[in-house]
Symmetry: C3
Subunit: 263 residues, 3 copies
């Protein structure tokens, strides 16, 4: 009798341990990644050319021996360093409301073809968001789209990491460039209370997530539950019901992925 | 009899699974973040102005067409790039012992107001610490405090990530700037044996943590333990006792957060 | 009888909870880190000196007031900014096939000794790999080896983080520098289907891991299994067998650490 009553709990426990082990180790092993935040912006670069002192948002500040700081050098501008403070808009209209500034530098680093390297921040200080997103990486301008790294962030974007896809949306000669920047953050941190509405002096708690975490745990758990034909009702249900609770939470996350704002 | 003897284990097992599932998935979902290391430094920038070749620790090396490399340009120094090698001290005294060097560059990137973008490393090579902390980000100089990103580190700070809060502690004209840098690392890696005392040639193991990890797991576990009125003595205690063991370990971490050093 | 039959399950369950708790919290607490990918390259920098316009791969583009952009400045080149587009090879031969380009900038930032700060990308676009690895950090040139940070990546190296060890492999005067770059990635993301073989337009799933994750979970589990003398056969075996399954997977990872490629 005792033997019989022992069997089932033993099986369940073995199964539990199996699930426990795999649940604890899988999240690190295979985390399918989807953005926890996605933001699309345009920024507008008007390069100083000797005649547009008032309108220009950027200027050449470094050049090789065979160049100068007024005209972009020959050989695909190799060696030119440009410092910029470009307005950011939500659409492709230079005259749309500015929601932030793109600030930093880019440099042309190849003689044979246009290609650049960029180090910059998106700086937001609106009623909607406060903080910065920091970028770095190679920007091969002639590619239709190219990716740079989101290497960090502060304020509402503190500790962010991700990928930003740049695309040249339009250009006029060597003076005006409009870039589309599609930011996909895979590591997001958020304050319990947003920065803009938090009372001064109150210490704000914040927390992080990487991706909408659905497949992260749901996938290996589901897999093992499927394998195990020994597991009985109650426990399986307990886990499955949590799983679906998770999924609905996840949907709300996905719903928030396309994320726009107006100042 | 068997039925009766089965009930309690079943309940416990269901509960265990519940805890197991939530424990495995919560750490990713909501990790409240506190620094795993905090360091406060001052660094001192003396800009070359044509007359202080000996004392200066930085120099203008890039300027727009309307500027030069001796004098900061008008329009809030827009376009000036400065390379620096500034001494780091533990207090706000320029003549205090140097515990490291702040090396890199900053550039002024706005015409209407002073603001800069900074890429730099703190380089330590003392008996206390060896390694570098790498920073990047927008630095709106006129803000009382502003945050830049810790984008990486090497040696004792390998693979670090975090936020550094800069504050202008003092300045004299356009020559001397003293910055306070409050570094909060949220991802820390450490060698089992510190770099400075490790024998040469021995391969050093190292490990990482993000934050003092208390709320990370303790919070959801505690929550579920509170909800479940079915769970019986021994197992609950097993977990609680581990929890408190954790907390005391965590305290020792928090105790190490304010972390000073002298060369 | 019921009491007796209850005892063992209770013990097992307590043990399970113990393991469950520790498994869930340990991965964050102490993760011994080994690279998930390791890559060794050489890159070749030929600095423009006024006479080698055709062969040079880099040029001085910034200099302090006492310097110019043709000759490196005295005082250990303090203040010189160099933009480069250097070929990457798999061995130390400048004429070997190029597998990519090292693009970005470095600057000399100390008067008393040669030391630099580097911001660059390795750009790959071969049949073997597509993508970029982004670097930043202090590069004290005279050290036999020195570490900089891998701050991000795109394409096949998307979301990478790690450490790159630079070593000056050879130099000729102030014109030719050959650097060995030993890249250790501790955070790797991979597409299920590699970028180069994926059909166009198909959305590619990708996932991430940090380190070959062996000690990450295996270590604390092993520890607790050792401690617990109460645990009985089946459950222990369940976990151990998974552990060894893990280890063999891990070996295959380690086997892939030394990772070379030819175009």
């Amino acid at each position: 009798m005792a033997t019989k009553s022992l069997k089932l709990p033993m099986i369940i426990c073995s199964f539990l341990l199996l699930v426990g082990c795999s649940a604890a180790r899988k999240p690190k092993a295979l985390r399918h990644r989807r953005p926890c935040k996605r933001l699309v912006f345009y920024f507008h670069d008007i390069l100083y050319n000797g005649h547009n002192a008032k309108n220009s948002t950027s200027a050449i500040v470094g050049a090789p021996a065979w160049g100068n700081t007024i005209h972009l050098t020959p050989q695909n501008h190799f060696g030119n360093i440009v410092v910029f403070d470009d307005p950011i808009t939500l659409d492709n209209n230079l005259h749309s409301p500015r929601v932030g500034r793109a600030q930093g530098f880019y440099l042309y680093d190849k003689k044979e073809v246009f290609t650049s390297w960029i180090g910059m921040s998106f700086v937001f200080n609106s009623t909607r968001h406060k903080g910065t997103i920091n970028f770095a990486g190679a920007d091969p301008i002639l590619s239709k789209t190219r990716d740079i790294s989101v290497i960090g962030g502060t304020g509402d974007f503190r500790m962010s990491r991700g990928i930003a896809t740049l695309a040249t949306d339009a250009y006029e000669g060597e003076v005006y460039f409009r870039l589309r920047c599609d930011i996909k953050l895979y590591e997001c941190c958020e304050f319990a209370i947003p920065l803009i509405s938090a009372p001064k002096g109150v210490k704000r708690k914040w927390s992080c997530r990487d991706g909408p975490m659905d497949l992260q745990v749901g996938y290996p758990l589901g897999l093992h539950l499927g394998h195990s034909s020994d597991s009985k009702g109650s426990s399986t249900i307990a886990c499955t019901s949590m799983s679906s609770a998770k999924e609905s939470e996840e949907e709300s996350w996905i719903g928030r992925i396309f994320y726009n704002w107006a100042q």
